[in-house]
């Protein structure tokens, strides 16, 4: 009982640790990391754990041949500085690769990448 209380108290305190300017890591994506989608997406959305500097953050999306399928510049969601949006060209069935480089507002740089597949 006492241990449960102490653990609960510790967890509550941990939630209060300030993290307003941490490294920006990928929280989730649409299409999801490693997923197979049946409806070709018209855009890629990346949710990060921190707000980004849009001008210094980049996203590449390429097909299996390494050709870019990006239809326009990546940009931050006007209503949410933690979300990066990339318009995509019409996607044929196949595998695609995403590479991102994010600069958080405190100037920490992080990188990452993942794949997704458009089913026939």
């Amino acid at each position: 009982m006492r241990a449960t209380f102490l653990l609960s108290l510790l967890w509550a305190l941990l939630q209060g640790v300030p993290a307003a300017h941490a490294h920006a890591f990928l929280q989730r994506a649409s299409p999801a990391v490693g997923s197979t989608v049946h409806q070709p997406p018209t855009e890629l959305r990346l949710w990060f754990t921190e707000a980004l500097e849009g001008a210094f953050s980049t996203v590449e999306v390429t097909d299996a041949a390494g050709t870019s399928v990006v239809a326009g510049p990546a940009h931050l969601d006007p209503g949410d500085g933690q979300v990066m949006i990339v318009p995509l060209k019409p996607l044929a069935p196949g595998r695609y690769r995403v590479k991102w480089r994010a600069l958080s507002v405190d100037t920490h740089t992080t990188t990452g990448g993942f794949g997704f597949e458009v089913a026939p």
């Binding site: 941990l14 640790v17 993290a19 490294h23 990391v33 754990t49 990188t111 990452g112 990448g113």
Partner: protein
Amino acid sequence: MPRSPRSGAALAALLTLALPALAHAHAVCGDRVFPPTLTMDDPGFNDELSLPTIQYTPIPPSGGNPSGSRTDYGFEWDKTIVPNAGIAINGDYIFQRGAGQNLGGWDNVTLTVKGQLPCWESHEFMVSLGVIHEFGGTGARHLVNAGAVDPVGNTAPTIYIGKGLGDLPFDYLRPFAVTGEFSYQFSDAAHISPNQWNYAASLQYSLPYLVQHVKALDMPEFFGHLIPLVEFVYAKPQSGGATTGTIAPGLFYEADSWQLGAEAIIPGNGATRQSQGTGFIVQFHLFLDDIFPNSLGKPLFEF
């Protein structure tokens, strides 16, 4: 039965050899985040604070002496002087129980100068170099007399290596990473405390790496913060004494600006089992570069 001071001190000296320095820092290289490991250091350097690190070590009965235990309450503060290089200071308060006496006091202070070399991002490979110095005589005198604290200092040039396996072609193996730490420890007085080789390694499986780079999990977000791992830490005296070491399986929860870690510490061979039983270590670690990016968490000098 009263404990023989001599054999008790010998056991404690063995324990001192076997116990690792407490607490360490984390590092980012390419897509890989190497978390701060508990019984060895990680391959990078950053502004961080481990507070507290609590390690409990049971001491088995030996030579007619009753069993006892040792608990270390430690801290480490890593401060960058220039980007990716700086100094770290370690200290820990020791409680030792056994043979009808309970002792408490500070261990020797340890200072590390460490610098991280440019990492090979595409292969998640990084190397750091450092020199660790333990200041003999800074610990509590009565603990030195009891053999719980090393009576002399030492200096250990050290190399730290980290390799993420994100460049493997097999998706579900990519979250694996290995790290290593190797040093030769020069004693300030080798006839009292021998020179020794120290070597350590860890094998980690990063669920944060899995969900960010390989496959999103259809599970609560909590699981995407977990890193199961195992650490191996050994020391071999140059004088030919027995190799001692520990194996530490455990689990980390890694948040944006802090990490909570816990590991069991299991004696790694028969010689180690003579001086310690299976204990545990827990640590709360703060990433100061994320919490105070414009003050305490940034290098003193930036170019």
